[in-house]
Amino acid sequence: MAIEQTWDERAVRAIVDGLKDEPGALMPILRRIQDDLGWVPPASVALIAKALNLSRAEVHGVVSFYHDFRHAPPGRNVVRVCRAESCQAMGANALVDHISKHLRVELGATSADGAVTLEAVYCLGNCARSPAIVINGRILGCVTPARFDEAVTECWVDR
């Protein structure tokens, strides 16, 4: 990452201290950090490694293994579009183009004003209702551009 992002060290430390005694604590800690902060700050790797008596390389290995863990803070809204086989067959790529144009954000990026992050995911387990997307944690199936526009107004957060 070019720019070092600021991160809430206190919050991370509290999560780590709360969970570090659980068996196999690394994944619960990382997931909680991602849930609370929206991302896993690269700088928190050292803190987690020290608490769990792992090496920093091992912790980073796990963080980089799961694409779900973000390395940068997301926008205020997160739109995730499934691009796995079933959804692609049902027009996910066209949907991505539409969303990208509509929200003025590239796939895999956060808009300049920090309003929205558009991410690709590979299978949400909703193949029967392809194409599937997730807007701010809400899963939607059989999404057409029109349905997307409708859903966006419903689920949108703008603090």
């Binding site: 050292a46 090496s55 920093r56 390389a57 091992e58 980073h60 290995g61 980089s64 799961y66």
Partner: protein, 533 residues
């Protein structure tokens, strides 16, 4: 294992193999001499199960099983020579080779590469892919002594487990997922004291030591089993020699000493063998200056000088410093020589350095314990301080000095003062050191790579070394030097050979006499504990 004595029977391809219960199936098959390809399994590391190459068919199991993560059970029926197993191996190898750069001509592992070997033996022979191979980091400088080539890596994680479990430093890890996975360091370079072991455990050429990088092809190397001379741990090694020089030292497995590891300092400590400053001929003072001469002349001069000195000053004024770098046999002969001469004081100087709680020991010499077990020296500092005081007091006026550890063990000014007081100094060493410029006779010593004998490690394990290099014609090893001197001063007619010296050791009845030469196998033999110890 719950009950250690229980043995189970496993049938592999109609052959019944007995094994201890709970043993790993792969290890059982390898021990039985079966040729089972595998990458990620290493007997001294935890099980990873990532390479999928050791799969075998086991009756009663629905799919092929990785034998490295299967424990043997009584009555297990295993099939290895099976079309399904063979086709699986071909598939695994083809997948491992998908992105492999096939740069064997410039890879130092070529010739001892497990990917080459298994692909030749079990692979399908040709590639079916037409897509370009993935480009990744090459020649990455990830540590002081190690280079990483990510393209060659097959992600077996042996090195990762080594860093986690053996060196306990955790520098290496595999990052990202699937076909983006790559081995790398994170924020700490691979600079631990055992880092070069990752090149040993690496089955391919992904991790290479800088020291051996582009030096020589491995198929030219002749490997000789030996013992590391760099500290008193006595790690078992192979000396790889070719073209009259040593190219590398690699660890040899000995579960009682070093498992399959060795430290970087020991591994890199072989250049002194080919030191350009090494003495090539004995030196004797002629017309006030040291001049090169031949061996019989130098030894004759030494015997005469000692005899004249003893006549003038008495044998009690003669002192000796034993080298902890010489073998038990050589030091035994030296002891015989000193007894024959009636030397006043004998001591040993040992260079000391850093140590850890794994393999690296503080005493930087291979055979300090051996000298003590031979009874040549006594006392907590091996009699060194007493001998030095005796020199300063003028009681000792002549010194037969073996090795140069004295330079590190004694403060320079004190050493210079002592050397100045000596009437006669005979030095037997690798190089001509300025500290000993006043020596009357300088005899070259022979390194561990050029002679045979035994070293006794810190734990009392007596282990054999074998010559990897030939010495020039006419050269005399330390044992031959001591024997020749003994023949001159004691009017004897001995030769120096291991069997003869061991017969003398047995007659002598010291601690070493509890062993016989034949007892000392490839992994050495332990001295019985001292009575009262």
């Amino acid at each position: 294992m719950s009950s250690p004595a229980k043995t189970v029977r496993v049938t592999v391809d109609n052959r019944v193999i007995e094994a201890p219960e709970g043993a790993t199936l792969l290890q059982v098959m390898l021990d039985a001499g079966l040729d089972i390809p595998h990458y990620c399994y290493h007997p001294k590391l935890s099980i990873d199960g990532s390479c999928r190459l050791c799969q075998v068919k086991i009756d009663g199991m629905p799919k092929l099983q990785i034998s490295c993560n299967t424990q043997v059970r009584d009555g297990m029926v295993v099939h290895v020579a099976d079309p399904e197993v063979e086709s699986t191996r071909r598939g695994v190898l083809e997948m491992l080779l998908l992105n492999h750069p096939l740069d064997c001509p410039i890879c130092d592992k070529a010739g001892e590469c497990w990917l080459q070997n298994f692909a030749m033996r079990f692979g399908r022979g040709t590639a079916r892919t037409i897509e370009p191979r993935r480009k990744q980091g090459k020649r990455m400088d990830i540590g002081e002594r190690i280079l990483l080539d990510q393209e060659r890596c097959i992600l077996c994680r042996r090195c990762v487990r080594f860093c986690r479990e053996i060196s306990k430093t955790g520098e290496l890890a595999v990052f990202n997922i699937g076909d983006h996975s790559q081995l790398d360091i994170y924020d700490r370079r691979l600079d631990n004291d055992y880092s070069m072991c990752v090149a040993d455990v690496c089955p391919v050429g992904a991790l290479e030591t800088k020291d051996f990088h582009h030096q020589i092809r491995v198929w030219f190397l002749e490997e000789t089993a030996s013992v590391c001379p760099s500290c008193s741990n006595g790690c078992n090694i192979m000396v790889s020699a070719a073209r009259d020089r040593v190219w590398r030292l690699v660890p040899r497995r000995n579960d009682e000493v070093n498992d399959t590891w060795m430290c970087d300092a020991g591994r890199l400590n072989y250049r002194f063998i080919a030191d350009p400053d090494r003495l090539r001929a004995p030196l004797v003072v002629r017309d006030g200056a040291l001049a090169a001469t031949d061996w019989p002349d130098a030894l004759g001069a030494a015997a005469t000088a000692i005899a004249e000195f003893v006549k003038r000053n008495g044998a009690k004024a003669l002192g000796a410093i034993v080298s902890p770098h010489l073998t038990n046999e050589e030091n035994f002969r030296f002891g015989e020589l000193l007894r024959t001469l009636g030397a006043g004081r004998v001591a040993m100087a040992v260079r000391r350095g850093a140590h850890d709680d794994f393999l690296i020991k503080a005493e930087k010499a291979a055979n300090a314990r051996g000298v003590r077990e031979l009874g040549l020296v006594a006392g907590p500092d091996d009699g060194l301080e007493e001998l030095l005081r005796a020199c300063e007091a003028g009681e000792i006026k002549a010194l037969y000095l073996c090795g140069d550890d004295l330079i590190d063990a004694v403060a320079p000014e004190r050493l210079a003062a002592i050397v100045c007081r000596l009437e006669l100094l005979i030095v037997q060493d690798l190089r001509m050191r300025p500290e000993f410029a006043r020596a009357a006779i300088v005899i070259p010593t022979t390194t561990f790579a050029e002679k045979e004998g035994t070293f006794t490690n810190h734990a009392g394990r007596v282990q054999r070394i074998t010559p990897a290099l030939a010495t020039p014609p006419g050269w005399m090893s330390d044992g031959e030097v001591f024997t020749a001197l003994l023949n001159l001063v004691g009017a004897r007619n001995d030769r120096f050979d291991l069997a003869g010296v061991w017969a003398a050791i047995a007659r002598d009845g010291g601690r070493l006499a509890t062993l016989r030469l034949a007892d000392i196998g490839p992994h050495g033999a332990v001295l019985e504990p001292a009575p009262g110890a």
